[in-house]
Symmetry: D3
């Protein structure tokens, strides 16, 4: 199920349990998905990644749904199967409709296409776009 | 400036001019950026790409700003210099604030990190995430 | 099992058998993994890839374990499922501990994150880093 | 020099200055490279990224040089110009010799090649490599 | 089978059926592959993608087989499992021999290797190659 | 110009000179491009890469022009600036017309788009495409 197996709640150290508890409380669920159980073999990574994620994905200047859709857009671009599956669900849970998903994929597709056209035609950056 | 040079408005064929005109009208600007002038060497590609882009980026289930930010997220993930420069400006023109940009980049960074953690730990997709 | 199937030892041509023999001798094993059996349909590619790999992965200025971990880091970044599975084992065989794996993944994750932050913020290369 | 410019030490807020100070102390240098000055527009990102990086790159089960070389291997695979330039120098500062760099690049090149051969030939993961 | 399931011909709207019909007529087959049935949830995307693909893949300055092999080369580079499987078959249907496939993969492998060597060694573009 | 500088012919060791001579003879030119001069710091890599490239790019089941265009397609997909610049010229030297280049880029763009649509919609591989 993962390189070093999945660490279930009952087998977890107190440090890992504390992160699992925070994940469940924050997400209002009693489910811990495999990603966390797989990286729990490195408790420091588990804690840091979760805390960073919690901070980064919290609503701020961008709302939670927009952030989830951006996360999905990146995962699709990188062709990460696990991330596409889990973040599709996360985005749906955050309210993504089928119509929004469809428009999201259309944008992701176009961006991946034009990224290569820009590079392939060796287009110089316009003076006004330079920083 | 581009593999086959940039085609300026005055040197363009009527078919290319028609696309340039539509770009300027749609975007309410008198500026055609280098991307379009570079791919104008292939008038069919120019027309198809512009029409697809116009349809895909029009506000719908997602607003224009969200779409521009997703475009930028993909371009950053692909490390396309031209696209990052031009779509940063496009997103700003669509209203992206510095705070929104900052949160966008934080999400893009995290997604690129966790995509690799998920793959690197060979995490199996949770039963409930399967389609 | 592969686009053109796997070529087993007993069905292999003398040229392919010679490479298989060298793989088993060099690696002190009687096992040929699927990668080699799949590309054996192109004996020249098989021979060239194996000889290059043998030369590149031999201990030199970098030890064998470091090289295996770098190989794994690249495979994870590219999200290549086969390569992640096989090079995780190869690295373990070369002595990689669970703690080393964990630190390796943490570095790979961070590098993938900051690569995008650098591109996304369009950071110019410092004068002192230029070549 | 960067999307929102570079924040120099003298213009930085106390929170940003504290991170800059820690970078200089930790790295035993009086130089802050552009990456940090560019992301300092988001003080929370600056602080989090620096603290994560400091933790991840500290010697542990892997030594500092190995970590820097892995960082460089990922950056090369992702074709991130800024990161390649800055981490080449960081690795050299950590002791990377020209011979080590050469072997590192050879491994990175081979891994990128064989990643595609494995995918292109659609090689199934060996039973013994599965997790 | 796909995020929102596959839309079969008999369950399709007239707009989707029209695209399916054109795919079958153009390709001289009675089979619609999963890709189209999956994106049929967005009829506008289905129509646009199919029409673009039909135009782009039609023989012109490049013959149909060459185009299919380029498509496969890109899909292998991006490590897209679905695309590799479907475009390998499409290329074979267009006449790709096993020998051509083998040479194609060898080129794809080398290009992925030397792309990283060029970036890793930070090679400046030769004056005569600049545009 | 490159991480360790460029090694010019007159400063090269006999082993490096022998490779340079073979490049010039094979390519019927007196010009050695920067890529080779940059990796010449690792004479074994220089020799192996050149010999592999010479073997892989020689006309066989695929002609030289097709191979150069595939090389360019991969380089564009990977967004490698040096490789795009040098292989555009190499393809032109091998006879690529502007019309062929245009069709090549159109295919590369479409493939990059549909690769993400296939992944984003999580399309299962059709039974008949499985190997």
């Amino acid at each position: 199920m993962a390189t070093f197996g999945l660490i279930e709640y009952n087998d977890a150290s107190p440090q890992v349990k504390a992160v699992y508890d925070d994940i469940m409380t924050t997400r209002k669920t009693d489910y811990i998905n495999n990603f966390w159980k797989a990286i729990a073999h490195d408790p420091a990574l588990l804690k840091r990644t979760w805390e960073d994620l919690k901070a980064v994905m919290a609503p701020g200047a961008l709302d939670a749904l927009t952030k989830e859709m951006v996360y999905l857009a990146v995962s699709v671009t990188n062709q990460c199967g696990y991330c596409i599956a889990s973040h599709t669900r996360a985005a749906q849970k955050a309210g993504m409709t089928e119509a929004q998903f469809a428009e999201l994929m259309a944008v992701v597709g176009m961006a991946n296409e034009t990224n290569r056209l820009a590079s392939g035609y060796q287009v110089a950056i316009d003076e006004r776009f330079r920083v």
